[in-house]
Symmetry: C2
Subunit: 615 residues, 2 copies
């Protein structure tokens, strides 16, 4: 039986041409789907010197072999390109239903090339040829309005829409691509790339079944997976309290940043917790496609002056970056800030970080009211943050400065060493001083200081990831941690290629049986784990070619300053962590490149040749 052998829609926005192209069987076999397939595809297309916001950048929307199946939480999609925020590998992963719907419409992914002269949107409806449409009437609309408008336009309530808001139109460097109300491909500015191409939205609708190599085995394994996930305590916690269930433990352990990673304690952040949300503004949990966890939140702001009633509620990352990072504990006000990000299509994490950095720079006298257009910036002031979010999305006044992200903001004011980022991506709200695994994850993630290319925050907090197990060493440990980090990264890289949500953990044997039943390929667990490793190293090679070397594997020096909070004055031993990590990965200590031998043994001799025999 044939499994994963579908097609891509290739859109050239410069010429307006739309072409179907079969999946490359070799790429699919070695790099699966999602971010893995995209990385291999783009590796062949994109090199140094490409303007991320120019027509040469290629934007991919990818599903994978599990997407749209009955396996749990497999409705996600990946958006990939060179990031305008970081200049290196950009990828962002979104939930909802859009990914599954794209599969139902008969496509495994979309490749977007070139730039349109005027705004367009793309429709992909099963039974009709995909088509580009004039989007001048949509330009300037927020993402919710855009979704509604395209559903009306196509006359089908079940149409799923991914779109940018005004932030993407204005190429805010951390603009998101939103879909299914408040789901976001948030990080690394994929919305800015979409905006640069003048592609406002992609609407998809279909009813095809997803092809599977072994339907019986798949169906049986999917049921087993569902049972495992259902019994998992963390699924239940996520359902009840969303990802903000992390808040209280994070405060206790010094994991949740305050005041842009500076010292003051802010125990009031507990008012932003998942429990607090449940007891106050939560209306209901919101699931993505095929998900029985439903960590998504819907909340009411009826009692607030914001003029909205029910909105998509905030994640842990959002209550941290737009809450505790600003020394704000008003949950409804933070939820509204998150809503503004959703409307305008902004990554809440980078947006919150940028505003928080601006507050710090204001406090420390790097900028004054003359720079902000008269706005005083004070810790605890969420109203000003609301105003700034609007200004950022429109690149108005000081918002135009903040739209450039923390690295560039800090450089503008001569405060480079205050910015908390790795390779240009703002850190997630997990403090590596509290969890040493996150230090390595931030330092080595292919997209910068990101928490989704290895959720070591879970392992370091003592939770189990069945594929990897519990790390007995504890959250401050150095020795032995690199091995765990590498394995988590490999598995999560496979998840992001499959694509399965990283919040479900049906165990490695079950995941591999699902993949094997879907694709018809190997059922060997080690082969699949090595596929994750192969993809991880491919992304590394992609970045090496764009200038990433060993010096880039690091934390900002600010994160090596001990804190008096729950991280108890500990700081990660970067030298030892990195040394062990390089040994584990067999990366070259001088250049930061994966060794020729490792690449060859992973079945990527072509990449080895490129890295080691190139000019």
């Amino acid at each position: 039986m044939s499994g994963y052998m579908g097609k891509l829609l290739v859109v050239d926005l410069t010429s307006g041409e739309l072409v179907d192209e079969p999946l490359d069987a070799n790429i699919a076999h070695d790099y699966v789907g999602g971010a893995g397939y995209a990385a291999r595809f783009l590796y062949d297309e994109l090199g140094p010197g490409i303007d991320p916001l120019g027509p040469e950048n290629v934007l991919m929307f990818m599903t994978g072999p599990l997407v749209g199946t009955r396996a749990p939480s497999c409705g996600r999609h990946e958006v990939c390109a060179i990031s305008p925020l970081t200049g290196i590998w950009g990828e962002s992963n979104s939930g909802g239903f859009w990914g599954a719907e794209l599969k139902f419409a008969g496509y495994d992914g979309i490749v977007v090339r070139g730039c349109s002269e005027k705004p367009v949107w793309l429709s992909i409806e099963e039974g009709k040829p995909p088509a580009l449409h004039d989007a001048s009437g949509l330009w300037g609309l927020d993402t919710y309005e855009t979704q509604d408008r395209l559903r009306q336009e196509l006359g089908d309530e079940k149409v799923r829409v991914a779109s940018i808001g005004v932030a993407g139109e204005n190429m805010v460097l951390y603009a998101a691509i939103m879909n299914d109300h408040g789901r976001a491909a948030g990080r690394t500015g994929m919305g800015a790339v979409m905006g640069s191409k003048k592609l406002k939205a992609i609407a998809v609708r279909g009813k095809q079944r997803v092809p599977l190599a072994d339907k019986t085995l798949f169906s049986q394994t999917a049921k087993e997976a569902i049972r495992i996930v259902k019994d998992d305590i963390s699924s239940q916690v996520y359902r009840e309290m969303g990802t903000a269930s992390f808040v209280d433990m994070s405060i206790m352990w010094g994991n949740m940043p305050n005041a842009y990673w500076s010292e003051p304690r802010f125990e009031e952040a507990t008012n932003l917790s998942g429990v607090a949300m449940m007891e106050t503004i939560l209306t209901r949990p919101v699931p993505c496609y095929g998900c029985l966890v439903a960590c998504g939140r819907e909340v009411t702001l009826k009692e607030t002056p914001y003029g909205v009633e029910v909105v998509d509620g905030p994640e842990y990352e959002t209550v941290a970056t737009l809450g505790s990072m600003l020394m704000v504990d008003d949950l409804a006000a933070v939820a509204y800030a998150g809503h503004l990000c959703n409307r305008h299509g902004l990554d809440t994490m980078s947006a919150g970080s940028a505003i928080s950095l601006a507050y710090l720079l204001y406090e420390r006298g790097f900028l004054g009211a003359g720079d902000t257009g008269g706005l005083p910036l004070r810790w605890g002031d969420i109203e000003t943050a609301h105003t700034l979010l609007e200004m950022i999305a429109r690149r108005e006044g000081f918002g135009d400065v903040l739209a450039e992200g923390c690295q560039r903001i800090a450089a503008r004011y001569g405060a480079e060493d205050l910015a908390v980022h790795v390779n240009g991506l703002e850190a997630a709200a997990h403090d590596p001083r509290a969890l040493s695994g996150m230090a390595l994850v931030y330092a080595t993630s292919p997209r910068g200081a990101c928490h989704m290319q290895g959720d070591m925050y879970s392992i370091d907090m003592g939770l189990t990831i069945p594929e990897v197990g519990i790390f007995p060493g504890g959250r401050f440990k150095t020795r032995g941690k690199a091995k765990v980090v590498a394995r988590v990264q490999d598995w999560r890289t496979l998840y992001n290629s499959a694509i399965m949500c990283v919040f479900v953990n049906p165990t490695a044997p079950v995941l591999v049986r699902l993949l094997s039943a879907a694709t018809g390929w190997s059922s060997d667990i080690v082969w699949w784990q090595r596929t994750g490793e192969r993809i991880f190293n491919l992304k590394r090679a992609f970045n090496n070619r764009l200038g990433i070397q060993r010096g880039n594997d690091r934390l900002p020096e600010r994160m090596l300053i001990p804190m008096s909070n729950g991280s108890r004055g500990r700081t990660p031993r970067m030298d030892m962590l990195l040394q062990e990590y390089y040994e584990e990965r067999d990366w070259d200590w001088h250049t930061g490149k994966p060794s020729r031998e490792r690449l060859i043994s992973l079945g990527a001799p072509d990449i080895a040749g490129d890295l080691w025999d190139g000019a």
Copy 2:
């Protein structure tokens, strides 16, 4: 009796015109001489937008009312301009005899404007008109050769020469101006400014007596000062062991940086101490004009392969920045590195820091052999440092990168937060984690992370500065330290205007009596202390106009990472230190400017008007 009422030589290198101009009596009275007079003079001439290496920058060589008198250690001169390294106030102070000789030739200072088309040198000989001469035969010579050549040229062994080496010719951003063999106006790149003007050297010779308002009082007070200095234990320590007498105490207290301010211990630095020098390569102490301290060193390198015999020996700052910062403890090799800096006219401190940063970046994988032209950079390798010093001076290959200073080097490799500087000036070899007073001095000095605008290292080490007294709080103390720092800065600012060497401390009453007897002005101690404060605030205003604001008053974040050495894991409390400092100085917390009220009360209403009523 008239005292300090001399003249300046104004040289326009563009037109070739030389004019005498009397000292401005108002400026002299309010800002004395040296860096104070220069600051007021240049404040009226130089504003934002001036290219420090262009013809608009004005370079001043200044003496002061005490220079060339019989008061102890008053032979120094100041060189001032906008710094090409930092873009703000630049000043550098040199010993030797040149300053006194300039006074003997009848001048209090030299103002150099414009740029010459071809290399020139300037002669100022008493009894002859000052003259510009073709220097094409000198271009490319080292500073020792230049001094020798001009002595021959003028046929007088007692001619004193200040000149640049090839580093200044090539506008290395931290090029020094050397005089009297190994004396250097080292910091802030005054040699690059001189090089940009194509002025190779200034030779001076004269026999005039320095005018004094009250000769009897002066002579009597000078004798008293000499007695006090002679009895001072620190004078004796400096004479025996030079400034490197600091080494052992510095190691013990964690004051001396290793491996570019990173963690590894390096107790071997004791081999670089003043005692070690005395026991090995020291031939004799070398005094400047009128100095009974003689902290200068002459050393022999006869037993080395460097092809030189007797050279000017290294200071504490040199053994630290070109020694322990490179993890080198070979004293003769470090002395030779210092000699190379002297020959080519390089600031040892910034040069050593730049090389040390490069070693760190190499170790951490920010740069590789491809960047350095094949040179591996390894801790402990002084031979490579010798090679790099030659390359820097000539801006050859990787030397051209290092010639730009630490801030720009780090930015080039995306490692901004690894550079240890304040406002562009490389920190001196005093770690503020060991001595909290140095934290404030670095953060607020008008020329960046400098140790000479307030020698809090002495006070924090428990030594007495008679003008200020012992600070009982200790080296880690926060509360109360700002007041002491401000007073030290005020007094040292007066010293640098008088000019008296900061290594002698004849007590405030005696210093003020000397100044009063020389100038005929007030004998009120408070008035003179406030004159120091007035000048300090003038330099601040100069910098405010060039963009300095409160955010600039800071340490790099790296210096807030605790160390396991003798600084015992302590770090300075910058927020509290700065708050107290701002209160003490009455600087505005929002803009970082001196308050209108303080400027007016200090007798500088014009500066107040400029700062607060300007556009």
